[in-house]
């Protein structure tokens, strides 16, 4: 059933009894052309693009829990593409292009909100680094502009730009096309659209093994619901990538860290945009429901526990209240943690692996939500063609061998 105001109206009159399941629960078939491990938005998106763009519909997405329950369901939803290096700018901007119009394409409102992301500079080094981004983005045709402190304040009125602050605002880089989206809806929207095209979405189905044939290529997966054959497997398991890769006998340049976020109680609209500050490690926006959505850096140790330490939350809120002293009386409603997989150069790995038929999309660390449609499309493309697209080609595993890293972190110490 197509979603629209009209269908909503019609269904309301019939007591909403006719809405079908958005992504029917299926029992797995014995064999698929492609299996995607991981029902996050990246994995679901890849299945959708395989079916919609690349004509492969005999696809299963295997999710060990419930779809969208990984980092897709726990992130602070910041979307932007003003990355420094050409490779990254191209990848993230491809994603933003797809975000625009995604609701219509999926016939599912993912609430992509181009409210603008403002990255604050608090010292001369930040200023230099952000300006470098602005200049580079301009020639890459990625929007990003420099604002002086007064302009920052005008764009984000709750901001305190007085020079007496511990880290005074020395300006900011603003990407207007950037913003947020409704995290859960992205997973559901892809799942529904993929389902419609024939993709099987199978939840509560943990992959526990990857079988390989005599040539070493993948042959299928062992799962909680039995053995499923497939000659092509795409892994999109975010924080658990190392665990899945190990099943295929591969070790990866990844470490998984806890990353926490929190929301305040809902309040009337007060915060019009997204603000990030790397100097104090904090970022904030207000959701369409009214709560302030706040995040920080990772915990220091590797973990799969989906929880983090109190002192990080303390520091996170100290930072938020330092930049926005008006929020000190607000209250934290809920906090939670996710598990993010981090590569040595903080850039993702999207492409082929040394095992035939095994493809991977991982290493998005603290910032892969924004890439969702792009990453999903690139993974699908690579699976279809057994070759990376030119956008994801640089994000291969080989770069760690040769040394051609795409080191956004070293270049700017910027998160998200």
């Amino acid at each position: 059933m197509k979603f629209s105001a009209i269908s909503l109206f019609a269904n309301a009159l019939s007591g909403h009894k006719k809405w079908p399941s958005q992504f029917p629960n299926k029992d797995p078939k014995k064999e698929y052309d492609v299996i995607i491990i991981g029902g996050g938005a990246h994995g679901l998106g890849a299945a959708y693009y395989l079916a919609s763009k690349y004509g492969i519909t005999n696809v299963a997405v295997l999710e060990k829990g419930w779809i969208g329950g990984g980092n897709t369901g726990r992130n602070t939803t910041i979307i932007r593409s003003n990355y420094l290096f050409d490779e990254s700018a191209a990848l993230y901007d491809h994603a933003v292009d797809l975000w625009d119009g995604l609701s219509q394409e999926l016939n599912y409102n993912v609430m992509f909100s181009k409210r603008g992301v403002l990255m604050l500079a608090h010292n001369v080094h930040d200023v230099q680094s952000f300006k470098r981004h602005v200049y580079s983005n301009r020639l890459n045709d990625v929007d990003n502009q420099w604002l002086n402190p007064e302009e920052c304040k005008e764009f984000c009125p709750p901001l305190d730009i007085s020079s007496s602050r511990r880290y005074p605002v020395m300006g900011g880089a603003l990407q207007m096309r950037a913003g947020t989206a409704r995290h859960d809806s992205v997973a559901w929207g892809y799942a529904r659209a993929a389902s419609k095209l024939g993709v099987d979405i199978i939840q509560n189905c943990e992959v526990t093994g990857i079988r390989r044939d005599s040539l070493g290529n993948v042959a299928g997966v062992e799962t909680a619901k039995g053995y499923l054959k497939s000659k092509k497997i795409g892994v999109s398991a975010a924080g658990n990538t190392s665990v899945v890769m190990e099943m295929a006998g591969l070790r990866f340049p990844l470490e998984s860290y806890p990353l926490q976020a929190l929301v305040s109680e809902p309040i009337k609209p007060v915060f019009p945009c997204v603000v990030m500050s790397n100097a104090v490690h904090a970022y904030i926006s207000q959701s369409d429901k009214g709560e302030l959505v706040i995040g920080a850096g990772t915990d220091q140790y590797t973990s799969y526990s989906q929880r983090g330490a109190l002192h990080l939350q303390e520091h996170n809120l100290m930072s938020i209240c330092e930049i926005f002293p008006i929020f000190k009386r607000m209250r934290m409603l809920r906090s939670w943690g996710g598990v993010v997989d981090v590569t040595p150069d903080r850039s993702p790995i999207v492409g082929k692996t040394p095992v035939g038929g095994l493809y991977v999309n991982c290493g998005w660390g603290t910032g892969g939500f924004k890439a969702t449609p792009g990453a999903a499309n690139m993974l699908a493309y690579t699976i279809k063609h057994n070759e990376p697209h030119k956008i994801n080609a640089p994000f291969n595993l080989d770069r760690f061998i040769g040394g051609r890293l795409i080191d956004e972190a070293a270049a700017a110490a910027v998160a998200h």
Partner: protein, 102 residues
């Protein structure tokens, strides 16, 4: 905030006194051995990590304490430390780990 037993201080101390220092027992090849290593072998040393979901051998630095680096076995699913031991001691055997859990 974790409570971490420092094998040098022989005390449990709060996490904020420590810095995490990555996976343990990844031995750095010396200069001579480096010469014979392929780029791939070298990149394995530098970048490839076990990233175990379960019992993980890792290093910590008691920087705001006795200043010593030491090793630990910690379960990354529960974040619980199973044991800590001094730098230079061997990776504990499964038996030792089992014993430490009791």
């Amino acid at each position: 905030m974790l409570l971490i037993h420092c094998p040098y201080c022989n005390k449990k101390r709060p996490e904020v006194e420590f810095a995490y220092a990555g996976e343990a027992h990844i031995e750095r090849p010396n200069g001579i051995n480096q010469l014979t290593m392929t780029d791939e072998e070298w990149s394995n040393f530098m970048f490839i990590r076990n990233n175990i979901r379960g019992e993980h051998a890792e290093r910590w630095w008691h920087n705001s304490g006795c200043n010593m680096f030491f090793n630990a076995i910690r379960n990354t699913q529960t974040d619980k430390f199973i044991m800590t031991y001094k730098m230079g001691e061997n990776l504990p055997t499964e038996k030792q780990i089992k014993a430490a859990k009791k």
